[in-house]
């Protein structure tokens, strides 16, 4: 099955290892991933900051690059939510683009959802190690409704132990442009999250959004923590 991989701008620019892990996973589970080279960013930074026209430009570009019928898979709950829920809003008064946006939304899968519901990766007996805790990112859970899939995948890792953190669903303070506009509050929230991670005693913290993980990694580093921060795709790919 051909799938279109939307890497996201953060993975593309900062975390190619997450993209590579995603590619390996998709291939291992029988998909034929294609990375359209024209892709850029979903436009969420502009959308969330109120720059609707800029966001619409980015969205239109995305829709032309990811045109077709193949599923679109992305290792980000936030970017998937942008495509699924906000693209239709951006084109509400343009019937042709609206139809295109809706179709793209239906075709868009956040990685863990694809891995569980389409690839059934949780039944593959992947290996894992150490103790892992998980940050349930905001748009993944509240906007996309993906709550169980990452936990199902983590629970399936043979040899790894899962420890839940307190308030796993509380925002880490990344918030895209929020991090830039109100850095002090953003840092305070990330510190609180990092403390929750450390309190679990886990050696690894994972999640499905590179933005949150990046923010969390910074807060952990400032604390001098040794906890490893890894995207769920990386943990799963390591167990192949």
């Amino acid at each position: 099955m051909k799938v279109l991989l939307f890497g996201t701008c953060l993975v593309d620019t900062f975390f190619p290892e997450v993209g590579e892990a995603t590619l390996r996973l998709l291939r291992r589970f029988g998909a034929d991933p294609v990375f359209p080279q024209g892709q850029t960013c979903c436009g969420q930074p502009a959308f969330n900051a109120g720059y609707e026209d800029t966001a619409r430009t980015a969205a239109a570009h995305f829709l032309s690059v990811f045109d077709g019928d193949a599923p679109i898979v992305t290792p980000s709950g936030s970017c998937a939510a942008m495509v699924r829920h906000h693209y239709p809003e951006l084109f509400h008064d343009d019937p042709r683009m609206l139809a295109k946006a809706r179709r793209a939304g239906e075709r868009t899968y956040e990685l863990s959802r694809f891995l569980v519901h389409v690839a059934r990766a949780h039944e593959a007996g992947l290996r894992g190690r150490g103790t892992i805790t998980y940050h349930a990112s905001c748009h993944l859970t509240r906007s996309l409704g993906v709550r169980e899939e990452p936990l199902t995948l983590l629970a399936s890792l043979k040899g790894a132990a899962f420890v839940p953190m307190a308030d796993a669903g509380r925002c880490c303070g990344f918030g895209g442009t929020f991090m830039a506009k109100l850095p002090e509050i953003s840092c305070a929230l990330a510190e609180e999250k990092a403390a929750s991670v450390e309190a679990t005693g886990a050696d690894t913290v994972t999640g499905c959004d590179s933005g949150c993980l990046m923010n969390l990694a910074d807060a952990l580093r400032r604390r001098g923590s040794k906890v490893r921060v890894a995207h769920l795709a990386q943990l799963l790919a390591e167990g192949l």
Binding site: G7, C41, A49, A180, L182, I185, A188
Partner: protein, 455 residues
């Protein structure tokens, strides 16, 4: 006490709050407690989603024809013997209340908790007119004593710990120091009892106003609300127009939702339904009842794209779960209403020019919308205000330049790749300039971006 609007200084206010160790500890503990109590209170409510739909539907129904419901309420309340005043704005509300009081020679006023009275800065105005105003809700009593404004719409003194309150009581009341909440409450009750008995008038707010019966509904816990509205001969209630519900028979949905959402209680200790003043044969009630219906910009909000914020029933659940509010507290928002509902209302009621920084005071995490009992679309409303902020030209030029560049890069893979390369080359510089701001917290860009490895 309204200390003047400082919403434009949201970031500076929040930095100060973040450095306040006592405030942060108090906020965290209180917000966690309310969050946990809320969840516990709703656990046995098996029809919660249907209940939220019903309450949301009633609020929609009110907003669909607010002027008609207001007219109905005015007619019903008048029939019940109340005098209803319409106040177009804050100044009108202050004048009306002051005139009602001074016409009757009222000098000593006891007050129940009312955020609308905070919104119109009523106390200062009455005090300037030579009246004594005593807040009787325990939290408000503490706040008034401290010369502050409420930092939460339900729990005004949420930002203070009991040691601070103990010291305040010692300082202002001359009582021996104690930090025992029950002892502190006893002290306040003793001081307030005498005020109730000698008051010329009581001022209250209202949680709801039923259009069909003209009744005011108050949910309270301390008994002070009932004292304020029944002991003095004159009762003045001040409420904003959107507090109206079509019928008293609509109340049960809110009765089940509001206390649980606000304080995690299945029901508040007191639920008062006040229909007109005391009538012959009544055992209790004020002899005279005046109701001040405040508009103060609501009609304008109702006609615009943000009207759904008027569905809000002021439970405070959104602020208890908001990561920003629970970290910086309510004063940082710089006006009467804090947290997610507050930043929306503040911007709409006071104008973008006086409040635009606060529309960024959200990570858009959506925790607020998840708990809102009447399904106010808080995140879409915040996004809408951000779009308005951009449309009206409030963001600084630097942000506009960054966004212009972003727009170009997002629409063109060539520019995008160039941006990636430039970021890599200039990263040490960006980092040095960025400091603890953004760049200082981002890792360096990858040497080879994913796009060049993804084949």
């Amino acid at each position: 006490m309204n200390l003047g609007q400082t919403t434009l200084r949201f970031r500076q206010n929040s930095v100060r709050a973040l450095e306040d160790v006592a405030l942060r500890a108090a906020m965290k503990q209180a917000a966690d407690t309310f969050g946990a109590k809320r969840a516990e209170a709703f656990a046995p409510v098996s029809d919660l989603e249907a209940l939220r739909d019903r309450a949301s539907g009633i609020r929609d129904e009110v907003l669909a024809d607010l002027p008609r419901h207001v007219e109905t309420f005015v007619a019903s309340a008048t029939r019940a013997g109340a005098t209803v005043h319409r106040a177009k704005d804050a100044a009108a509300a202050r004048e009306i209340v002051a005139k009602v009081l001074s016409d009757r020679g009222a000098k000593r006023i006891v007050k129940g908790k009312s955020m609308v009275s905070e919104e119109v800065d009523l106390n200062a105005h009455l005090e300037a007119a030579g009246m004594e105003v005593f807040e009787t809700d325990l939290g408000e009593y503490i706040i008034q004593m401290a010369g502050e404004s409420p930092s939460h719409i339900i729990v005004p003194a949420i930002h203070k710990n009991r040691r601070q309150i103990g010291r305040l009581f010692t300082e202002r009341l001359g009582v021996p120091y104690t930090e025992d909440p029950q002892a502190l409450t006893r002290i306040a009750r003793g001081a307030l009892r005498e005020k109730f008995l000698s008051a010329d008038a009581g001022i209250s707010g209202a949680n709801f106003a039923a259009a069909d019966t003209g009744s005011l509904v108050l949910f309270t816990n301390e008994g002070n609300g009932r004292m304020v509205t029944t002991v003095p001969p004159l009762h003045v209630a001040i409420l904003s127009v959107e507090k109206i519900i079509p019928s008293l028979s609509d109340l049960p949905a809110f009765l089940r939702l509001l206390p649980r959402s606000a304080t995690g209680q299945a029901i508040t200790a007191y639920v008062s339904v006040i229909t007109g003043p005391r009538k012959p044969g009544d055992a209790t009630g004020a002899k005279e009842l005046h109701i001040v219906l405040l508009d103060n910009g609501r009609t304008e909000i109702l006609a615009g794209e943000s009207r759904d914020i008027l569905k809000c029933i002021r439970c405070g659940a959104c602020m208890n779960v908001c990561p920003v509010y629970r970290t910086v507290g309510g004063h940082a928002y710089g006006w009467t209403y804090p947290g997610p509902m507050g930043l929306i209302l503040t911007t709409l009621l006071t104008g973008m020019a006086k409040s635009h920084p606060v529309v960024d005071a959200s990570t858009l995490c959506g925790a607020c919308a998840e708990v809102c009992p009447v399904r106010v679309p808080l995140v879409p409303l915040i996004l809408q205000l951000r779009r308005r902020k951009v449309r009206e030209g409030f963001p600084d030029p630097k942000e506009r330049r960054v966004m212009a560049w972003f727009g170009r890069a997002a629409a063109s893979p060539g520019w995008f790749s160039l941006g990636q390369r430039l970021a890599g080359i200039f990263w040490p510089l960006v980092r040095a300039v960025g400091g603890k701001d953004v760049a200082g917290r981002l890792p360096p860009p990858a040497r080879i971006p994913f796009r060049r490895k993804a084949h």
